[in-house]
Symmetry: C2
Subunit: 194 residues, 2 copies
C-alpha cells in the first residue's frame, strides 16, 4: 500500500471541511477553525493545499466523489427508467440528511453563495451541477425508451423541475424546520412523473 501519511491527513481534513462547509458555506470555511477542529496547526494544514481557493475546490471534488458513491452509483443497480429514477430521488433525499451534511447539502449552499462570485471555484461547481442535471435527464430519457414516460416528454425540463423539488425540500426542512418537508418532497416528486 502506497498510502502515505500525508494522504491520510489530507483525507481527514477534507472530510471535516465538507461537513463544516455545509454549515457555513465555502466562503465561511476558515483555515484556522478547520485546523483547530482537527488539532492541527494552521500552517501544517495549509501546507497540504497551496491556497484557500485550492482547498475550496478540493472540498467540492471530495463532496462530489462522495455524492457519486452514495447516490449515483448504487442507483445503477436498479432497473433503468422509472425505478432507477425513483431510487436516485430517494438516495438524493438521504444524502441531504446524511451525517457529513450536517448543514444540508453542500452543493445547494454553494450554489447560491457562489452564483455571483466568478472564479475557478464557481466554474467547477457549475460544471458539477451540469453533470448532475445531465445524469437526471439521461435517466429520464431511458425511461422514455422503456415506455415509462411519453415519447414527447421534455427530459431537461424534468431535471430542472426535480432540482426545484429538492431545493424546496431544502428550504422547508432547513430554514423552516418543517416536519412535513419530506412528505411534501415525495408528493411533489410523484406529481412530477408524467
Amino acid at each position: 500500500m502506497t498510502t502515505t501519511k500525508g494522504a491520510v491527513t489530507r483525507h481527514a481534513v477534507l472530510e471535516r471541511a465538507v461537513a463544516l462547509a455545509s454549515r457555513v458555506g465555502l466562503g465561511g470555511l476558515t483555515i484556522g477553525t478547520l485546523a483547530e477542529d482537527l488539532e492541527l496547526s494552521k500552517s501544517g494544514l495549509f501546507g497540504h493545499f497551496r491556497s484557500k481557493e485550492a482547498l475550496q475546490i478540493q472540498v467540492l471534488e471530495h463532496a462530489a466523489a462522495r455524492f457519486v458513491e452514495a447516490v449515483v452509483r448504487p442507483a445503477l443497480a436498479q432497473p433503468r427508467g422509472e425505478p432507477r429514477l425513483r431510487n436516485l430521488f430517494e438516495r438524493w433525499l438521504d444524502w441531504a440528511r446524511s451525517s457529513p451534511m450536517l448543514g444540508g447539502c453542500l452543493f445547494v449552499a454553494a450554489a447560491t453563495e457562489l452564483d455571483d462570485q466568478p472564479g475557478p471555484v464557481r466554474d467547477r461547481l457549475e460544471q458539477l451541477q451540469r453533470e448532475w442535471l445531465g445524469v437526471i435527464a439521461t435517466s429520464f430519457r431511458k425511461g422514455i425508451d422503456e415506455g415509462h414516460f411519453p415519447v414527447d416528454a421534455d427530459a431537461d425540463q424534468f431535471a430542472h423541475d426535480l432540482y426545484g423539488v429538492m431545493l424546496a425540500y431544502h428550504h422547508a426542512h432547513r430554514l423552516l424546520r418543517d416536519p412535513k418537508a419530506e412528505a411534501r418532497a415525495r408528493h411533489a416528486f410523484q406529481a412530477l412523473l408524467p
Copy 2:
C-alpha cells in the same frame, strides 16, 4: 416634513446594502465596503446602526418592504383567485431580476446562508418567509373559493411547490446562466396549476 438628514442617509445605506447583500450574502456584507461605496466613513455609517447584526436585520426589513410594494400590493389589483396568483408569480419573477437585486433574490441567498446560523437575523428571515408562503397559500385558497381549483387541493403544498419553482429558476438563471430558465419557470408554474 420631518424627514431628517439621518433618515435620508439611513435609507441610502439600506438601499445600497440590499443590492450588495444580494450578491455577497448578509454575512458577506461588510461595513467597510459599504461605507466606501457610499463615500462615508466606517464609523459614520456604523453610528446609524448599533451593530452589524442590527444592520442585517434592517436590511431584511427594507428588502421585505420593497418586496411587498413591488409584488404583493400591486397584485391585489387583480381579480382574486387564479389571475391574482398568476400576477403574483409574474411579479415575483420580475423582482428576482429587478435592478436592486443584482445578485438575485436576497431572500433566496439569505435562506441557504442562514439556515444553520441561529440568532435574531435567522429568526426574522424565517418569519418573513413563513408570511410570504402564507400569502401564496391564502391566494390559492381564494382560488378554491372562486371555483378555479378543486376543493380538495392542498394550498400549503401548492405554496411549497411554487417556491420550488422559483428556487429552480434561481438556480438555472444565476448559477447555470441558462437562457431558458425563465421559460422553464413559466412551464413549471403552468404544470403546477391543477
